[in-house]
Amino acid sequence: MINSLFLYSIACILFLIGLFGVLTRKNVIKILVSLSIMETAVNLFLIIVGYIKNGKAPILTRWDPHINIHTLNFVDPLPQALVLTAIVIGLGTTALALTIAIKLYEHYGTLDITKMGDKK
């Protein structure tokens, strides 16, 4: 029932908004927020690629004891496995980038990237 083009559109529009933010914002933390939006959009896109209509979560449970494989409708677990690790790695890299932003603030006294070249 879910219109697939609509699902893909949400992820693509989020990605484009994040890209616009990265290109135009001047504050370092704003740029990092835009990068995080892009990251969420890419994760959403990968999950949508693995989805099928009326799919179930790829976990065997005790409530269907006789699994008839010809009617079973699992979604694809491979993109889920990739995204699962990508989210945690994303947190680590975001923390590292924020630390670099703090160091930049200590050094230049500002977070505006256009004013950073003025002082040395």
Binding site: M1, I17, K26, K30, L91, Y105
Partner: protein
């Protein structure tokens, strides 16, 4: 039913992304980012990916916001002009 829920969540996510980019205060942008993470985790749950939904709910709306706020405290809340 899922169509309605996912469309409402998705459109709210797009508005929150605009708010995160155009907000004057940095803390508004960070809280909008948390909103995007939370709604993304609900969409993951509706798309039959519970593992990813748990991870995104813990990280996207909890830990990530915390590290942004700690970084903001170290930079004395510089506002964008």
């Amino acid at each position: 039913m899922y169509v309605i829920i996912i469309s409402v969540l998705g459109i709210t996510m797009i508005f929150a992304a605009f708010m995160a980019i155009y907000a004057k205060k940095l803390i508004t942008a960070i809280i909008s980012l948390g909103l995007i993470g939370l709604f993304a985790s609900i969409i993951f749950l509706l798309l039959a990916a519970p593992d990813v939904a748990i991870t995104e709910a813990a990280i996207g709306s909890g830990l990530s916001i915390a590290i942004y706020l700690f970084a903001l405290r170290h930079t004395e809340g510089q506002e964008e002009k």
